[in-house]
């Protein structure tokens, strides 16, 4: 089957192996090592790592469209946030009558706004499976509608980037409004349980961390399967010479649209896994700044490798946590400095550096190069 095809690849096996190892190591250090031991991983850290992993999945989704298809989306945060809101709505409904106002059906903010019934678009969200479906469908449909119009009109390059930016900005403004029925400024928060498990227990957090890791592995595998297939090569062809691809008989706009939709759905899943772990979703996630930050993760890690996006997301977010703890004011400068340094010194990102070192080692060994070459960016 085409989905298992990347498992025959060395890089995919290494990636999945490292991910699996890291996940089991964290689990082990969290559960087995006693709390006062220096190697103990606290529940807080597990939770933080789970958040990073959901960011990593988001970065993979962005790398799929940016690295391979050449579509620089500055609005992927929108798909992430929509997935997050879909999950948040489910978690809101799960609160039931335990809210501050104790209303059996309405979330607190609706009671506060003097609403007396659920808006129609909140119906069904009491079921987990319906919400899970919406996590995929809502970002997917938005990406489909947006992409259909944009790609059919052959909008590409910087114009498309600006439009994606406008999309996420418009959504942010809309979600800020109380009348939208998504909690306005405050968003959705105060979640209690998910599928009957209390979200505040350490075990649930550990499980969420593991599920996120699994989702990252599957998402990575899907993206890798796409980029190693012939469709992946068509994507690169669209990226580098769109007109030529069209004259070969490929419908460039359909290739762009389908990959864009897949990417948006992955971003939605990432958002849905993010929300129960951080316990809140608000319109801030739609902010254009966040979407730009995602692009920076991918650029730092290295475009068009997928694993580079994961490395970038983990590193930058770890640095962010560290910096905002030690000297919060310096974080944006540090981010800017990292971005400039990497662009100047490592144009292909950290993954490019690893690739070069690998090449050099291989050359020293003086072995003939048999592996299929990585695509240059």
């Amino acid at each position: 089957m085409w989905l298992t095809q990347p498992l025959y690849e060395r890089s995919t096996r290494i990636f999945l192996g490292v991910l699996l190892l890291a996940m089991s190591l964290v689990t082990l250090l969290h559960l087995v090592v006693p709390a006062d031991h220096p190697l103990h991983v606290s529940a807080y850290t597990v939770n933080l790592l789970g958040k990073y992993l959901s960011y990593a999945l988001l970065a993979v989704a962005v790398d799929l469209v940016w690295g391979y298809l050449g579509i620089l989306s500055l609005g992927h945060g929108a798909f992430f946030a929509l997935g997050g809101y879909a999950m948040g709505m489910y978690l809101m409904r799960q609160i039931g009558d335990r809210g501050v106002y104790g209303h059996p059906e309405l979330p607190d903010f609706m009671v506060f706004l003097n609403w007396d019934a659920l808006p129609w678009y909140w119906l069904g969200f009491d079921s987990f499976w319906f919400a899970a479906l919406m996590v995929l469908l809502v970002p997917g449909l938005l990406a489909f509608a947006f992409g259909y119009l944009a790609f059919r009109s052959r909008v590409t390059g910087v114009y498309l980037s600006i439009m994606t930016q406008a999309l996420t900005f418009a959504l942010m403004l809309a979600f800020f409004r109380n009348e939208m029925g998504f909690g306005g400024n405050n968003g959705l928060t105060d979640f209690r349980d998910m599928l009957g498990f209390d979200l505040r227990t350490d075990t649930t957090r550990l499980v969420l961390f593991l599920v996120t890791g699994l989702a990252l592995a599957i998402g990575y595998l899907i993206c890798r399967a796409i980029v190693t297939s012939k469709l992946g090569r068509v994507c690169v062809a669209c990226r580098d010479a769109e007109a030529r691809t069209r004259f070969l008989g490929y419908r460039v706009e359909r290739v762009q649209l389908s990959v864009f939709v897949v990417s948006a759905m992955l971003a939605g899943v990432a958002g849905a896994l993010y929300v129960p772990q951080v316990g809140i979703i608000n319109p801030g996630e739609f902010s254009p700044l966040f979407s730009i930050e995602i692009v920076i993760w991918v650029a730092l890690g290295g475009r068009a490798t997928l694993y580079g996006a994961v490395i970038g997301a983990l590193l930058v977010n770890y640095a962010k946590t560290w910096f905002t703890g030690v000297m919060p004011d310096a974080w944006l400068f540090a981010l800017g400095a990292m971005f400039v340094l990497v662009t100047v010194l490592l144009p292909r990102g950290i993954a490019g550096l690893m690739h070069n070192l690998n090449e050099r080692r291989r050359r020293v060994k003086d072995k003939p190069q048999d592996d299929q070459q990585e695509l240059p960016v």
Partner: protein
């Protein structure tokens, strides 16, 4: 009333339901037929009442000074530019003016650009793989597996264009001439009925030119080939029939000898000196 009768008629197939991809009909001879085609850009008439007929299996050279409308003509045939008026038919069944680029390409019109355009990040082999004539919609492309048959076909073309030992290299490292070759190879993989080749020998050495000429003449017969070229020596070496374009319409047509002795052609090419 008539319209409603059509609607209830069980036997009737609606126009939009008729499959577009019916085989090209060349029973009447010509494979490409342009009639009274005109197009202007900002008031400049790039193509002016152009009439052109290409027979099935023919090798035709089109020459003309700069700005004669050669490339615009190719843009019109491949669907990149829409003419203001006129009609363009592929065989006697397909109206090219109603189709878009991918449709026209899958119908069997292949095009080589003036500037060699290959996918530089992909290997030579992969470039040919993408060009291969097959179902090019999304799912079949996603699930297609490399088979021995495809491999053989690509190897065959690799041999033909002389890039066999470079097939694992990214196309970006090829020389200018090799890129031209690769692009012709990609056209061959498409198995087109009609090949439009824009300046195939620009920037080639004498030797490379000879091989290109051999290749193109070898193609004629199975495929119709239209070559746009500046290089007179090259045109003389391959052409049986030459069309001279000037200011967007046909100035002269015939064998190379006929054309080159035509006083109007001499005037256009040599200006006041003639």
């Amino acid at each position: 009333m008539n319209f409603f009768k059509q609607l209830v008629d069980r036997e009737r197939v609606f126009d939009f339901m008729v499959p577009q991809q019916s085989p090209v009909d060349v029973r009447h001879g010509p494979i490409l037929y342009l009639e009274d085609v005109s197009v202007s850009f900002d008031g400049f008439r790039a193509i002016n009442k152009l009439n052109l007929t290409i027979d099935d299996g023919e090798l035709r050279c089109i020459i003309g000074p700069n700005g004669a409308g050669k490339t615009t003509m190719m843009d019109i045939i491949t669907g990149k530019t829409r003419p203001d008026e006129g009609s363009v038919w592929f065989g006697s069944r397909h109206n090219l003016l109603q189709m878009n680029e991918p449709d026209i390409a899958s119908l069997g019109i292949g095009r080589k650009f003036q500037k060699p355009t290959v996918f530089e990040a992909l290997t030579v082999f992969q470039n040919l793989e993408l060009a291969r004539a097959t179902n090019k919609s999304i799912l079949p492309t996603l699930t297609e597996r490399m088979t021995g048959e495809i491999q053989d076909r690509i190897d065959e073309v690799l041999l033909l264009i002389g890039l066999k030992n470079l097939h694992r290299q990214p196309a970006g490292i090829l020389s200018h001439g090799q890129k031209q070759w690769l692009e012709i190879g990609m056209l061959l993989m498409q198995k087109p009925r009609l090949l439009l080749v824009d300046e195939p020998v620009a920037g080639m050495t004498e030797q490379e030119m000879e091989r290109t000429a051999e290749l193109l003449t070898g193609l004629a017969g199975q495929q119709s080939v239209v070559v746009v070229e500046h290089d007179m020596g090259f045109v003389r070496s391959i052409a049986r029939k030459v069309t001279v374009l000037h200011q967007g319409s046909v100035l002269a047509e015939g064998s190379m000898d006929q054309v080159s002795s035509d006083p109007r052609v001499i005037e256009v090419y040599l200006g006041e000196e003639a």
